[in-house]
């Protein structure tokens, strides 16, 4: 009888422990997630493997580029100072590396939505000639020839053989733990802090002018929209339209979250704006009435210079320092410096 009781207690501890872990990383003031965790339940060993893969340049053809090369923790996992992303052999891509956080709440990835699931997203940069220039099969071979990865795969999946689905699930798990939910805005929402008067005025403006696309609390609806940017003739980027071949999707791009915006410049899919006030000026004065311009932008947004200052004051409350400097998200030197 006693033994049964002990057994039940141990089992409930495990079950409770797991729930606690999921609860503690998914903020209460966030909506429910889009990612299906039943097919890839979070596990600390898998997350650790994913983190190591994310930071390892072994994943690129010449061993020079890792995921983190263009998705740096200190930039909200975007790439500050580079309008277009870089790859092996100094190649330059066609888009700005997007920031990575709160990915569990998103169901399509890349600026054009070309990836339909977080698990398979990594296949794109891995195999792109101008990014990591590898083949998935070759990466798997390299992992299977590495003593470090043999150990990490054994710990994570109880197997000594790396496979593509296991590698992809591990990369997805690490990225799923990149959760930004501790900005001043979040603390105001959970009643731990209060906005200043200026921030509050900015918040009211935001709710009126921006929230329909950059929807709280994630600060994006994660839909696709044409935000009236004139076409860059050197890129001729039609965004989602080039993927779906549907004319309504022409020049539409994924709406980015505004969280951590001080860390993720430059802005827009091609990184054309370096400063936040250039972005605001685009929305007040720069919209080009292209054929499929988003409905929300057909009526011009009018902001006085004071209102612009207030809006920026509010937007800065979306910076989440505890996410940017979270040691759990950093380069795993204890593994990769071996």
């Amino acid at each position: 009888m006693n033994k049964t009781l002990v057994f039940i207690v141990i089992i409930s501890c495990f079950a409770f422990g797991f729930c606690l872990k999921l609860d503690s990383i998914f903020p209460e003031h966030f909506p429910s997630t889009s990612y299906n965790f039943t097919n890839n339940p979070l596990d600390s060993s898998v997350i650790q493997l994913g983190r190591t893969l994310f930071y390892d340049p072994l994943l690129s053809k010449d061993g020079t580029i890792s995921c983190a090369s263009c998705h740096s923790a200190y930039n909200g996992f975007a790439h500050t100072d580079h309008d277009l992303s870089h790859g092996i052999n100094d190649s330059i891509g066609t888009r700005n590396a997007p920031a990575l956080f709160n990915l569990a709440w998103q169901s399509s990835f890349m600026w054009d939505g070309a990836s339909n699931h977080l698990d398979v997203q990594a296949l794109a940069p891995l195999n792109h000639a101008g990014e990591m220039g590898e083949t998935t099969l070759n990466v798997i071979d390299k992992l299977n020839n590495s003593e470090v990865y043999k150990m990490l795969f054994a710990k994570a999946f109880n197997t000594n053989k790396a496979t593509a689905p296991l590698m992809l699930k591990a990369l997805a798990q690490f990225q799923l733990t990149l959760i930004s939910s501790n900005s001043k805005y979040d603390k105001v929402m959970t009643s731990e802090m209060e906005f200043t008067e200026m921030e509050n005025k900015g918040y009211q403006l935001f709710k009126k002018q921006c929230n329909s696309c950059h929807t709280e609390p994630l600060f994006s609806s994660y839909q696709f929209a044409n935000n009236g940017l004139p076409m860059d003739s050197s890129l001729m980027d039609y965004g989602k339209g080039a993927i779906t071949l549907i004319s309504e999707d022409s020049m539409t791009f994924k709406i980015p979250s505004l969280r951590n915006l001080s860390y993720t410049y430059p802005y827009m899919h091609d990184g054309r704006f370096k400063k936040l006030n250039e972005v605001i000026n685009h929305y007040t004065n720069g919209i080009e009435a292209t054929e499929h311009l988003s409905e929300e932008l057909k009526t011009p947004i009018k902001l006085s210079s004071n209102q612009k200052v207030e809006l920026i004051a509010f937007l800065k409350t979306l910076n989440d320092n505890s996410f940017i400097f979270n040691p759990d998200n950093k380069y795993p030197k204890e593994i990769l410096n071996q």
């Binding site: 699931h117 398979v120 296949l123 794109a124 891995l126 195999n127 998935t136 496979t163 689905p165 071949l245």
Partner: protein, 225 residues
């Protein structure tokens, strides 16, 4: 007495819960007209001469139909048919014994739900050469080779057909009359497909689009018993 009741119960429950199954096998044969295709050999039609380098495709969602009503659906049934691998040219499934059916039905390709379910293993592993990387999605059908009349570089034609979403959903359903007792061989006639194409006009399809949907339809109705 008690024991015999228990034994009876076990047998009864066993009968109800575990319906006996049998394995049904269907051979897939890829032909050029009436000739069985070997890769990298020449085949002549009235219009052109072809050599095939790759014939690779997915069959999925195998179902058994009796007089228009579905009698059995094989769950998680995905088969990657690859002419290069003779072991792949047989589709086997476990179905209830003595199942009455008049036809089989299958998808040529991978459905949209599977296409949006993340990373998978086995025949669905993205390293099997049947998954795009620059955009998500399985290649349903791969046909590559050379033809004497093909005007592309090195006379090379390549058709990578896929696409799971509107308006370019290339997935096709194939239904063939089949009898439970017959020696089941399903033929795919590549000649009839090539006869309905013009390689001087279109010699490559590499992404989900209207051409991929159109060619997928032609392929789907080139299956026969």
């Amino acid at each position: 007495m008690k024991h015999s009741i228990l034994i009876f119960l076990f047998v009864f429950i066993g009968k109800v819960c575990f319906v006996q199954n049998e394995i049904v096998s269907i051979d897939i044969q890829v032909n050029f007209g009436n000739q069985k295709i070997n890769l990298n050999q020449w085949y002549e039609s009235e219009k052109d001469t072809f050599s095939f380098e790759t014939v690779k495709f997915f069959i999925s969602n195998l179902q058994f139909v009796n007089e228009d009503s579905l009698v059995y659906s094989c769950s998680n049934s995905y088969y990657l048919i690859d002419l290069e691998d003779s072991n792949s040219l047989q589709v086997s499934a476990s179905i209830p014994s003595n199942l009455n059916y008049s036809s089989i039905k299958f998808n040529l390709g991978i459905d949209s739900v599977t296409n949006t379910s993340g990373a998978m293993g086995g025949v669905l592993d993205p390293t099997n050469g049947m998954y795009w990387t620059w955009q998500s999605g399985y290649i349903n059908f791969k046909l590559e080779g050379v033809s004497k009349k093909c005007t592309a570089r090195k006379n090379y034609f390549q058709f990578h057909l896929g696409g799971y979403s509107f308006p370019n959903n290339a997935l096709q359903s194939v239904e063939l009359n089949i009898s439970p007792k017959a020696n089941n061989i399903v033929y795919l006639d590549i000649e009839s497909i090539m006869n309905r194409m013009d390689l001087t006009v279109k010699s490559s399809i590499m992404s989900p689009n209207g051409n991929a949907v159109e060619l997928s339809k032609k392929i789907a109705n080139s299956f026969k018993l």
